[in-house]
């Protein structure tokens, strides 16, 4: 009897424990580890260190990043390391939460369900997510945050005013630190060390096309053969017919960005290359999907597919797959966002591929500062605001930028006669081991104008090749420069739940599927039919209504800026 009771109680207890353990997992797990190690580290006197004002305890904080391909470093608090320096100066020690995919979906769920266990630091690239965070009341306005927890912070006075104004206009407040900062005020603070940087800033663009020069030679071609649409397609045909190989594997005539080809990748490049833009010749807003040049861009991809130069499997590849394919060395030409693959000096760019119908290629630039690619927020529920305030101030300071992006003086870099930082051989090794060292890994605090101020103009062949490749499109003689700043929108234009955002999202989801269908159309007749269906469905989804609202914003912005923009080709 007693045994029976004992057995039943044991079994019942097991069920309870397994049920409770199963439901305590999830987003809280890293926070639990942090609390445990925070209590351990707080108990340690050795964790205290000096700061400008008072010693700050070393604390464990969580950093959530929704960019799946950002490689978080393994945090190392050892003195004399880059991350050790950060911990010493600010007291923070990070654990990272970086979902490989759908990071913003997880962030949405965290915002609803995590309560006080919301990550301490949040980085996202999505504009809508940034708006949601700003409006949610879950993140600090950085002005208030710094005034309360680091009133001596230089950020309160030194953060570029034009950048801040732009962020406040779009999001209703200064809620985040933008990455890849560049603006007129910042250039005044950090003037470029050489006209080389002004040049690459003016002409450089991530979207482009590049070809492997060795394979080009093997095929008996030159870059000039690729400068027209029909020339490029003929070159792809020739490469395919020659059945070239690299290490026994067949050469791939054309690679695009994988499944991201529609979002800032190959499609965007082709649209601009064939002259599509969001403004028509009359100066009215017109969705770029409706531009005839967009049809041309999709048609190009379809011809590449039908010709056998473009493997349809690429339309499903993720970023890692695309990088891996590119790194195999058997890619003849890569088209899309060239910054998404590790640049190889064997590649050069022909620049723009001139349309057979004479449309002029368009180079887009922004005269006003952007909102930053990555946006880093501080959570209001963080238990360590003092340390994070110090951290934000430090990472954006000259000292912090030198530490994070250059390393240790006389070890990873030296200062030349002009006061510029020159990377040493050791510095190159430190950079290659970025996951362990953290050097140049904190993209969230990248300051382009600071880098252009501290770096000498490159003299090594690889850097010059890279620069030439990324600037080739912008320097093509026939390219027309187009300022897209009048197209920027106020933060509430796509407010969550609004009519505008519903139409935009429906169009985006429909276009993503239908454009892929057009790319994979079996013949010209099928393509034309699909294109007609595409336009008809876009009209049904109220694209004209959205365009009318966007046109109103365009006019307002043009008036504010004192400029007028008009379409180039249609």
């Amino acid at each position: 009897m007693k045994l029976k009771v004992l057995a039943i109680l044991t079994l019942a207890l097991t069920v309870v424990l397994s049920g409770c353990a199963g439901n305590n997992a999830g987003s809280g797990s890293s926070a639990e580890q942090n609390e445990e190690s925070a209590s351990n580290s707080n108990a340690s006197d050795a964790a205290n260190q000096e700061t400008e004002d008072k010693p700050l305890k070393q604390v464990d904080v969580t950093w959530f990043t929704s960019i799946g391909f950002w490689p978080p470093p393994e945090w190392d608090t050892t003195t004399g390391t880059i991350m050790g320096n950060i911990t010493e100066r600010t007291g923070v020690k990070f654990s990272f939460d970086v979902p490989p995919q759908d990071g913003d979906t997880k962030l949405n769920l965290l915002m609803v369900s995590s309560g006080n266990k919301f990550p301490d630091v949040i980085t996202t690239v999505d504009q809508d997510m940034a708006t949601k965070l700003a409006q949610s009341g879950k993140v600090w306005n950085l002005d208030e945050f710094l005034k309360e927890y680091d009133p001596q912070s230089r950020l309160l006075t030194d953060f570029p005013a034009d950048l801040k104004e732009h962020i406040v206009q779009r999001f209703g407040g200064w809620y985040y630190i933008p990455s890849h900062m560049a603006s007129a005020d910042l250039k005044e603070m950090y003037p470029p060390s050489s006209s080389y940087f002004a040049d690459s800033g003016k002409y450089g663009k991530n979207q482009g096309v590049m070809v492997k020069t060795k394979l080009l030679e093997q095929a008996g071609l030159t870059l000039d053969d690729l400068k027209t649409e029909s020339g490029f397609l003929k070159a792809l045909q020739k490469v395919k017919d020659m059945k070239l190989t690299v290490d026994g594997q067949p050469v791939v005539p054309l690679q695009i960005d994988g499944k991201d080809y529609q979002a800032g990748g190959a499609l965007m490049f082709l649209q601009h290359n064939f002259g599509a833009i969001e403004v028509d010749k009359d100066g009215n807003y017109r969705n770029i999907l409706l531009a005839p040049e967009t049809k041309h861009a999709i048609q190009f991809l379809n011809e590449a597919y039908r010709g056998g130069y473009l493997d349809p499997g690429q339309l499903m590849m993720d970023n890692n797959g695309a990088k891996s394919l590119y790194s195999s060395g058997r890619i003849f030409s890569f088209m899309g966002n060239m910054a998404n693959v590790p640049y190889n000096a064997d590649y050069a760019s022909p620049g723009a591929i001139l349309s057979d119908d004479g449309a002029k290629p368009i180079f887009t630039y922004a005269s006003l500062p952007g909102a930053g690619w990555m946006k880093t927020f501080i959570s209001k529920s963080t238990k360590h605001p003092e340390q994070l305030a110090k951290w934000v101030s430090y990472m954006t300071s000259r000292e912090g930028l030198m530490n994070a992006f250059y390393g240790f003086k006389d070890v990873d870099y030296t200062i030349n006669d002009q006061g510029l930082a020159v990377r040493t051989e050791q510095g190159k090794i430190t950079k290659e081991n970025y996951k362990k060292t953290g050097l140049e890994n904190f993209w969230q605090f990248s300051n382009l104008d600071f880098n252009n101020h501290m770096n000498p103009a490159p003299t090594d062949e690889e850097a010059l090749n890279r620069s030439a490749t990324f600037a080739a499109y912008g320097k093509t003689p026939d390219v027309v420069r187009f300022d897209i700043s009048p197209l920027t929108l106020p933060g509430d234009f796509y407010a969550p739940g609004s009519e505008n955002v519903k139409i935009r999202d429906q169009i985006k989801q429909f276009a993503e599927v239908h454009i892929s269908r057009m790319v994979l159309a079996k013949d010209q007749a099928a393509f034309d039919k699909l294109y007609d269906e595409f336009i008809a469905q876009l009209k049904k989804l109220d694209i004209d209504k959205l365009d009318a609202a966007l046109n109103e914003q365009l006019k307002k912005k043009q008036q504010e800026m004192g400029v007028t923009v008009k379409g180039v080709n249609s």
Binding site: K4, V5, I8, L9, L11, A12, L13, V15, V16, G19, C20, N23, D102, D104, T105, N108, L109, M111, V112, D128, M129, K132, Q135, S136, G137, K138, K259, Q262, D311, P312, G313, L315, M316, P496, G497, D505, Q506, Q509, F510, E512, V513, I515, S516, R517, L520
Partner: protein, 297 residues
């Protein structure tokens, strides 16, 4: 009643934790259903959000929603038609195997894939079926055929889903039927042999009727699943090229609800699916009781 409860007190004690867990993690969260009728925004509280009636149910006017429902039903009916009888057939066949070691081997091999996660299965499928270097396309090309874009084809998506689902779950699902078959009195088979009944006759007149209660219960429990086809399996295989047939209710909720942070409409779709599932299970239970006296309640 109290006396009866006292008599079975240890059994009640045994199930009490499970009942408590069910109450805590299944019934209490039902309070969240109200999100389907509220204008719930991230950062606000569920209780303080405004009621908006049926505003979150406007997805019924979205043609994309009905396309998604069509895809869901198509895949789930196919899964049911192939996936329901196959474990029964497998159980019947394994039951006829006389060599014990071989029987155990076949059982183990058949239910091993159940333990693979769908992400692993999707990766295996992609490696096998990819155009560039995939085993299947290599074989097709060697046999003189043209490679097939399985992973992006709207024609091949459903067969891929059904066959991979069968491969993964048929062995596991047959365990229940094998257990039911083992409860059939062996003397019935002896008597049937004496009467001159062959293997098929024994299966028809003894085995199948013997496991009919189990089949009925499993059928009743399977019917609500018609409205949900398993996002774990579909999502890794979905891409823009096959999305027009791959997009199902779960992925629709993910894209239009969770990814955008629109929890109200996402909850509304989930609620509608659950109500339909409830109607289906009640109908099936009722029909099953009328037809063969077996039912869940």
């Amino acid at each position: 009643m109290v006396a009866k409860m006292y008599k079975y007190r240890w059994q009640y004690l045994l199930i009490l934790p499970a009942v408590v867990l069910l109450f805590l993690f299944s019934y209490i969260p039902m309070a969240g259903i109200q999100i389907a009728f509220k204008d719930f925004a991230i950062g606000s509280s569920i209780w303080e959000s405004n009621w908006v009636g049926l505003e979150n149910f406007t997805f019924v006017h979205d043609p994309q929603f009905w396309k998604v429902v069509q895809n869901t039903l198509y895949i789930s009916v196919l899964k049911f038609v192939f996936g329901f009888p196959m474990p029964i057939l497998l159980a019947l066949m394994i039951n006829e195997v006389t060599h014990p070691a071989y029987k155990r081997f076949v059982q183990s091999v058949s239910y091993l894939p159940h333990f693979f996660s769908w992400i692993v299965v999707a990766y295996i499928l992609q490696s096998f079926l990819t155009l560039d270097g995939g085993f299947v396309n290599d074989l097709i090309v060697r046999m003189g055929g043209e490679p097939i874009f399985f992973l992006g084809s709207t024609e091949w998506f459903r067969p891929m889903i059904i066959s991979s689902g069968l491969w993964k779950e048929v062995g596991w699902n047959s365990i229940l039927y094998l257990a039911a078959i083992s409860t059939i009195d062996p003397q019935l088979y002896e008597a049937a042999k004496v009467e001159g009944a062959g293997k098929f006759a024994q299966i028809r007149h003894i085995t199948l009727p013997g496991i009919m209660p189990t089949i009925s219960i499993v059928l009743i429990l399977s019917i609500p699943g018609l409205i949900s086809v398993g996002m774990d399996q579909i999502y890794p295989m979905m891409n823009p090229a096959n999305q027009e047939v791959a997009d199902v209710l779960d992925t629709y909720v993910l894209r239009n609800g969770l990814q955008q942070g629109y929890f109200g409409p996402a909850t509304a779709v989930g609620l509608l699916s659950s109500v339909i599932g409830l109607i289906l299970v009640m109908t099936t239970n009722s029909l099953s009781k009328k037809m063969n006296g077996e039912g869940l309640w």
